[in-house]
Amino acid sequence: MAIEMKNVCYTYMDDSAFSHAALKDICLTVNENEFVALIGHTGSGKSTLISHMNGLMQPQSGKVTVDGLDMSDKLKRKEGRTRVGMVFQYPEYQLFEETVKKDIAFGPHNMGLSDEECDERVREAMELVGLSYEKFADKSPFDLSGGERRRAALAGIIAMRPKYLVLDEPMAGLDPMGRRRILDTVISLRSALHCAVVMVSHSMDDVARIAERVVVMHEGSIVMDGAVSEVFTHTEKLREIGLEIPTAARIADGLRMRGVDVPKGICTIEALSEYLTGRLKKC
């Protein structure tokens, strides 16, 4: 079971395509339970790609299936959509109900679940994102702080119990504390829901820390796809397409250039610090 994209092509017809590039013959499989980070420039096609994952956009050629459900089929798409939870950029702007509780129940409700079931899912989702049910359920979403609103919006997707959770820059615009909270939430969600996570992010340090696999997009194509430690060893290639490199990999690179033999594949601050401490303290 997986999200499978086969030879997906998409070209924007209008001239406003500046901010989102086309997709060129994309082949990508997202397996159950894996954590994939999707990185690339603004305009490299990341947003277009994830919009195809739950049938919000249809490929002009090629095929997308979710657990074998063909997303070009209208009925199967509806079923497929409930399996792929989509958290767009700045998701707090989609909140509209009078209370947090009602808003989170919007998704489950559309799935045709009973009121009791919806309520149960709302409770569960709120707990998972770290919003207390007692404190927030009956509040208006518009009375929450920015970070809380973001988590409420996230809960709205979690309540649909997706098998695949797609997040488009979930930390954008938050302060360091808010960023850390969302990141921790994503990590805990994954183990609680046993879902796969696809996360679009510009923060390479975060990606290095929490993802297992990295897919690099450039001008509408996938140019690299592999384990985190593998992708971030190709620092030259990443620099070439103008992407940042995790700070740890940058420092390791710098040390290597100065003649210290730091092994390849270290890309988190934790790993680097452990390695350096070990080497430096031996003497």
């Binding site: 406003s16 919009s51 509806k78 959509r81 989509m86 989609q94 509209f96 559309n110 997707i157």
Partner: protein, 267 residues
């Protein structure tokens, strides 16, 4: 999908018509509309149409594209034609069955009304096709500025139009984004009864309104920070000048359509 809507159908070009001062174009369009309304004889539409066709050629815009501006009007045209055809009952009867009676007068009148509408739409399209919305707004502001004496808010209206034009693409983008987000949560905008569909718009409209108000608020602060304090004492980077070509264009058109009107009155 929302991006397909074309707004402000300006067609870039370097023709004489493009280069005219927006004020000239607005005034001449008004003059043209008056002329079309004053013409009371179907045959006089021939010189008017020819004149309009001449201007179309001058704009260097493909004729097909200009004519396509009529497309949204087609049902109104058909409606006007049919109404006139059925309502006028004077003249020689050509066809009669059940309650329908078609007369010669009705046909002449129906054609006349349709052609008049066609000419009006084409005439105004020529103005919007050759002038950017922002130039039109500037032109309108300038033309209406004498009315400030009677407290008419010419500058404020123009500023509102400018801001509206600026934010239409932004808000369309936003609508698209919110629609996608709600669709991903299982919202359905395409099936069900009319009431159900109207209800389905709530999850789009509320976030859209909230964001629009937030934008308005932030824009007001930004404008304030940029020393905006209304139209008083404001200068413009691009000053409008009437050039020789404006005089010539005005003279030619006024004489041409004026002659048509006078002929119409004399006949």
């Amino acid at each position: 999908m929302l991006k397909d809507i074309t707004l402000g159908k300006y067609y870039p070009g370097n023709s004489v018509v493009h280069a005219l001062d927006p004020r000239t174009k607005i005034l001449l369009t008004i003059f043209f509309m008056i002329a079309v309304f004053l013409v009371s004889d179907l045959w006089l539409f021939i010189p008017v149409t020819l004149g309009l066709f001449g201007i179309m050629l001058l704009t260097e815009i493909p004729i097909k594209l200009i004519l396509s501006s009529l497309r949204p009007m087609k049902w109104i045209l058909v409606f006007m034609f049919v109404i006139n055809l059925l309502m006028i009952r004077t003249g020689k009867v050509l066809l009669e069955f059940w309650i329908i009676k078609i007369t010669t007068d009705a046909i002449v009148r129906a054609v006349f009304v349709s052609v008049r509408l066609l000419l009006l739409v084409l005439g105004t399209s020529l103005m919007t096709l050759t002038t950017t919305p922002i130039r039109l707004t500037d032109g309108l502001e300038k033309l209406m500025s004498p009315l400030k004496v009677i407290k008419f808010p010419a500058h404020e209206l123009a500023m509102m139009m400018t801001i509206a034009l600026r934010f239409i693409p932004t808000l369309l983008d936003e609508t698209d984004r919110i629609m996608k987000a709600q669709t991903a949560r299982g919202a359905d905008f395409e099936t069900g009864s009319l009431i159900k569909r109207a209800k389905a718009m709530i999850p789009i409209m509320i976030p859209l309104f909230i964001s629009a108000f937030k934008r308005a608020d932030e824009l007001a602060v930004a404008m304030d920070s940029r020393c905006y304090h209304g139209g008083d004492g404001r200068t413009r980077m691009k000053v409008m000048h009437f050039a020789k070509r404006d005089l010539i264009a005005a003279a030619v058109l006024i004489i041409f359509f004026g002659a048509v009107i006078v002929t119409g009155i004399l006949l």
